[in-house]
Subunit: 672 residues, 3 copies
Amino acid sequence: MRTGVCYFPEHWPRERWETDVEQMAEAGLEYVRMAEFSWAVLEPERGEFDVEWLDEAIELIGDHGMQAVLCTPTATPPKWLVDERPEIRQEEPDGTVREHGSRRHYCFNSAAYREETERIVTKLTERYADNPHVAGWQTDNEFGCHRTVRCYCDDCAAAFREWLAEKYGSIEALNEAWGNTFWSQRYTSFEEVDPPGPTPAEHHPSRLLDYARFSSDSVVDYNRLQVDLLNEANPDWFVTHNFMGRFPTLDAYAVSEDLDLVSWDSYPTGFVQDRLEGEPTSDQLRAGDPDQLGIDHDLYRAALDRPFWVMEQQPGDVNWPPHCPQPGEGAMRLWAHHATAHGADAVLYFRWRRCLEGQEQYHAGLRKQDGSPDRGYHDASQAGAELAAIEDADHVDAPVALLFDYDNLWALDEQPHAPDFDYWSLLDAFYGALRARGVQVDVVHPKTDLAGYDAVVAPALHLVTDGLANRLTDYVETGGELLFGPRTGVKDEYNKLRPAPQPGPLADLVGASVDQHESVPAHLETRVRRADGDETYGFRTWAEWLEADAATPLLEYDTGGVEAGRTAVVENDVREGTVVYCGVWPDADLADALVRPLLERADVPYCDRLPEGLRVGERGDYTWVTNFSSDRFGLDPDADVEWLLGDAAVGAYDVAIADGRIVDGLSVERLE
Amino acid sequence: MRTGVCYFPEHWPRERWETDVEQMAEAGLEYVRMAEFSWAVLEPERGEFDVEWLDEAIELIGDHGMQAVLCTPTATPPKWLVDERPEIRQEEPDGTVREHGSRRHYCFNSAAYREETERIVTKLTERYADNPHVAGWQTDNEFGCHRTVRCYCDDCAAAFREWLAEKYGSIEALNEAWGNTFWSQRYTSFEEVDPPGPTPAEHHPSRLLDYARFSSDSVVDYNRLQVDLLNEANPDWFVTHNFMGRFPTLDAYAVSEDLDLVSWDSYPTGFVQDRLEGEPTSDQLRAGDPDQLGIDHDLYRAALDRPFWVMEQQPGDVNWPPHCPQPGEGAMRLWAHHATAHGADAVLYFRWRRCLEGQEQYHAGLRKQDGSPDRGYHDASQAGAELAAIEDADHVDAPVALLFDYDNLWALDEQPHAPDFDYWSLLDAFYGALRARGVQVDVVHPKTDLAGYDAVVAPALHLVTDGLANRLTDYVETGGELLFGPRTGVKDEYNKLRPAPQPGPLADLVGASVDQHESVPAHLETRVRRADGDETYGFRTWAEWLEADAATPLLEYDTGGVEAGRTAVVENDVREGTVVYCGVWPDADLADALVRPLLERADVPYCDRLPEGLRVGERGDYTWVTNFSSDRFGLDPDADVEWLLGDAAVGAYDVAIADGRIVDGLSVERLE
Amino acid sequence: MRTGVCYFPEHWPRERWETDVEQMAEAGLEYVRMAEFSWAVLEPERGEFDVEWLDEAIELIGDHGMQAVLCTPTATPPKWLVDERPEIRQEEPDGTVREHGSRRHYCFNSAAYREETERIVTKLTERYADNPHVAGWQTDNEFGCHRTVRCYCDDCAAAFREWLAEKYGSIEALNEAWGNTFWSQRYTSFEEVDPPGPTPAEHHPSRLLDYARFSSDSVVDYNRLQVDLLNEANPDWFVTHNFMGRFPTLDAYAVSEDLDLVSWDSYPTGFVQDRLEGEPTSDQLRAGDPDQLGIDHDLYRAALDRPFWVMEQQPGDVNWPPHCPQPGEGAMRLWAHHATAHGADAVLYFRWRRCLEGQEQYHAGLRKQDGSPDRGYHDASQAGAELAAIEDADHVDAPVALLFDYDNLWALDEQPHAPDFDYWSLLDAFYGALRARGVQVDVVHPKTDLAGYDAVVAPALHLVTDGLANRLTDYVETGGELLFGPRTGVKDEYNKLRPAPQPGPLADLVGASVDQHESVPAHLETRVRRADGDETYGFRTWAEWLEADAATPLLEYDTGGVEAGRTAVVENDVREGTVVYCGVWPDADLADALVRPLLERADVPYCDRLPEGLRVGERGDYTWVTNFSSDRFGLDPDADVEWLLGDAAVGAYDVAIADGRIVDGLSVERLE
């Protein structure tokens, strides 16, 4: 359980470095990440390298008992390089070139840029292969930030054609797989296939999905080029990449396969403003949303089924969201604990000191611009000491898997079929219900072996192959508990509609099929009622009319509209397990009403429904209690508890750690 | 009174076709439209044709007693053609090219594309000239869909210059006609005149209007090229084109002049979401809006003063509006009856079966993706049987003309002078008042001979020539009843302000002139009051201060603002007729208060004001009652009625047909 | 105190001119502005000039005792010129060319266009150098209208590099000044520096600020080219330019330095809709906002510390705002008086007669399209007579300076750090508080000598050099009263953060520093409370947590959030003066609570807080009372008053003029 910091020595006078590094050590920081944007300093002109400053910085860090994490500086090719080889720049669909002047202005498929990448990475790996203070490397920085995964340049066009030829073998196979008879879209050769440019009407969904896959694969390839160079130079180095929360165009699972360690960058009060549905509450503006962070922690942990790092942790106010409120008192400490509860082994704060120049002057550091300690420095020091006091906790062992993958994300993003249908938000609805019951969740790719999970939730398993259908059927038949959300089993892997009614190859497993679907605006009535009772629940955005075959109707529509009385949710017992199919986007009460019996059937321990903002997480033999709200809560566990940190009364933005697992039967009340 | 369907045999295995066609015949369908997007199947590579499949499909259709309607496949030139002749593609004003990958990616002025069009159309007409099962042809598909009427490529620039030279003769004449002294916009030659590209400030309105006219004329020319080939090949074929509801850039009157039959594509629950003011009600989301559909029916019927077809009728849920709710129970049947009441002789549902591939997978058909019957199949079968049982009704004989044309639309779109001034919506205000009184309306071009109409309504006759003014004066003087809306008589045919005060050449007829006009946001007071009484009415958006000369003030402004007490509406008796000029955009009550006395004076039979959603329409000796709401209504006609379908109690989304004309004196009440 | 009009004789038949000019003279107009868009008429083809019409028009004007103000016609280069030299056109950042067809389509840095400018201006100056009826010239027209200050063409790129080389001497100096180590943005030569084009993420703020400065300087240079030619031709001519209200990209102070007279174009009912925060009230839609107009009057008066002109005064309804309501009764007269109260010596109405052609047909004139008098003609005639009756009033002598400059505007626009942070609106908050106390204000550049001012208000002095800090310190130490707003003292002149805590070099003067800042959305609590009392006040958008050193805390945060109890406003006595630093964006009550004691300390006479819409202004020995509301107000001055116009009861949109200065102690009540 370690902490660290991101440092830019090149921004400060050499004479300051010693002070900086001493203060880092004082705060208990153990890792220092450097150099991700330093190409122009490392190589001010072609072939003229200036690396001594980095040598010295690493030396200082090592001298103070810390370890350096280095970055390849490829996220920001310098202007001299861009001017020499302008073909490395990305292009928008309409041909607009993404110019130098910010960052991430290069194309992943540029042969020229891959050459330059190899050159600079090799230069650095050679320099530091034997350096004892370098623990590992981060490749590049935040692949995909600023919508840069998808490029539409000539290099990409050529690479796309190769990718397609490789995948489909013949153009006839591609025409068949995509379904190109529609609107005369058949091709006579791969040469005819372009990246999707500006068109009068919407694009073919199968072409778009493959372009999304190809674009993501291009990043995977590019990253692998760097990983291979790093592995070759020093096999003891760990190699990681810092993903960003909820990034829509890059398959983090696929990139992770080439890494030793997955890390990500966590900015709680920004993320609630720019990638969460609805207007953030006051608490969310002050501390972020624990489930929005949690689902990312759980995704990046599950990607390699290994502890992850938070490579950049928000240190105070930041520069890029719409509004930039000050985090609540203690929030920077809270986030480190919350990450640890979800399986992080290290949390590095970004950045050491507020920068005097460039785009991020409004981004706080642990130290102020004058070098004095900022709010985050105190929080980080405290978190560091507290986490160091916890013996290394085991890897999180989650009993429930939430199925998520990027193919489904891309397919649903292309055809949302309602302005407010957002796949992430639908995931949140189910994930939030699980976390409100104190359950740890692995956010895994559907291809994952599910045997070890007591229960599986699949919020919208849109694209389903026969193989996946078979594996899920096996899972349930051998005792698995499975909950499907709406829009499941609609399409094949090429984003084509299956001829069989939804849920296609899952119909036997579900014991029901979808007669009709509809998307509805918020001002239409959206209620469902228990088939065997009076309770009603709300839903939103999406409704499917189910026809039960072997399955039992659980809920039916309770509206004055055309769907009144039709079935919305069914349950089906299949040999040793049970499957529930929910044809609507559930509100929080309905999600809980589906999740609680699922946990019950799966014999997963759970607690009373937790208030918003308060979350508990079991890791190894510890239980973290994290309070993201300004309220104070009292915990009432089923048995006696030894508190390693704090106690059963948890204040605003505060943390408690219990020695032991306390979720089962736990209840919580709001204190005055 | 016939029904039909749109069919894509090329999407399904040959062995399925027989089943499909049998099921069509069972449903009573009589027409099958095909081939509008099949170029890449018909000619997979240049010069290699594969037409046998279409031969077979036609043969099957004929064998089952149905007739084929074929389409020229020019809406979707295949990729090989686009790659060979890239100059056929359209361009945006900023030069962005509209690429292959959806549809309608060709320029109407491309000489290359006209050549290719002639080649493919000739190939097909030669093939089917003697085929007894082909009843007629549809040219292309939905000209102008996806904003594709206006293109800005070099071919268009050249064609625009020719069009201008033809129209004006000399550049001096153009400078004079447009008024190019303003802002130094005079040209020295036609070569200097470009399509309107990106400029710092707004464009010259006269240049814009001529570009709109030229663009529409380009489609007319292109369509005529196809029509001529089809007429030449077989003069017995009917030739039609399928227009789309409320399309803003194409003059449907002008295109229609070259056609034998006008048809259009009707998608009620989509149109209320993407081209109707305000948020749609629950009823509108379930069944569409009867007046929004009605005004299009009446426009396309009046275009040739002949029965029209609905070439594509929404069959269930569709893919392209913001939300995609399921239509109400019976809505697909309701729409067919409603179209028939407005003068349709055939209604073809789009499409036969939900498609497994491409952009429209979320668009229902009469059959589901697995081939089983969908909701629309039942509705279509019922409607088909009911309509077949009605003996052919006479052509609709409307007593009232609503003046509409595209020049006025374009001129007002260019200079709306208020964010919420929309010419279509203003038309709706007057049209809705007429339809709420059960009156049939012809939506005609102002150049139409008006002698046969008992009353004429002109909601915003913005551009007025002296000739038109004279004809309208003649109309009133010989006993016509005329109602003008605001913004009438402002400009000449070149979109230049007339020197005389508004309504310019209509001032004598109106007996008043406009002292001032203003546009007002919703939060200002907008009431008018009877000059001779206490009743007040609301208006919106636009207000003119009238100065009555020969006319009598009817209504005056009743606000606290600067216009208080000034005249808003006047009435003028002119020999045998009367003209009313309304200087405001009326709300529904005011529109009714203007329309009812108009009908009274014109001796047009009308009914009590109908509730929203319920509409009646007389056609020949029948009266259709169509209920677009979820309420149930009881009808109380003045005399005894024989009901051919249903009865005097009309339920949700239901229909009744009376034998005889029952509008005069009819009253309606909502039933519990 | 004079009036005039803008006239376009080229739009009307020669035989009409005499009538027009007679009617102008009858209305008491004394200046006639002409020819700003007439290039295509003056030079229909290259080298073929037609200037006689202008000779005649000037002659007529002179014959009627009026004077002509001529304009260089460079705002609208004709199409033949654009086609000959297409490189004169501006470019958008993405390379889109701004085409001919509206106006302002030329680049200020185009060598070709400067050559053409010299040619046409010389032609005209030669023609009129000795004409006795030409009083002076306006250069071009509304520089910067339609966002045309910033261009991104190759000429601009080259000029930008030269400008940078001139400013920084070496590329190392530029790298250091901007801080280009950040994100590898170091350059190796000036050749590498481009205009800021499309980039994946935001641009470097220092590069943006210099591009903003360079772009503005380009206009200054271009204007100077014209000024020099005009001065050379006839040193007796005045040379002016007509600025536009609240234009965001052009430094009006810098342009003014080359002028003899500053003028601007005032469109009150348009400006409240397109450049004022929030939805306009009914009164604002009818008469504009007196403080929005006032701050512009005061800026353009202060630019040369000389009486200014309103070169274009709104004459009635206009064509370009969202809605175009009719101005209130008398509003066009009110505006002329209001401008005079703020220091105008002449007000020219735009335009003489409503134009029949082109983009501005919906823009009223003093005469209607048929030549008859429009509403504005009556108002203008009355205002002209009333103003002529006032003996020339002295130049306005404002006791308070409001510090404003374009560098701060640009820096804050680039990094607003909150969607609702708008520098103009923050200025309005402080300016409005001063005007509501009847105080005249000079809106001056911070470099202005402040010695003569009793008090100085600096709403957001963002960029502060040591020199400026020293001058402000001197000002206070020698008895000045100074009020700072938030975001003061943050950055250096290169838009780089200062290492010292905010307010940087002002910290000693303020006696406090900023511990933290935050921006907050409207739904968070935003109250402050007196440190020594119970009164609370509202704030918005921005909050700084102050740490008082020598200063005394005045107000502290009164919220439930993390900032509760921290200091928001401090006061510091510094030798003979006092400085107050306000760390929040104040609401109107808080602004008044800061401004009133400031005036008290500075011994500036002020009145009771005036109601919205009513404003008083002292100029020389007169006091104007102007009522921008539809209410009626009664004035109660401290002493007896002789009313030169009107009296102490001022009706809707009416004016009164007192002989003498009556602000001190004045109170006002709303009359029924």
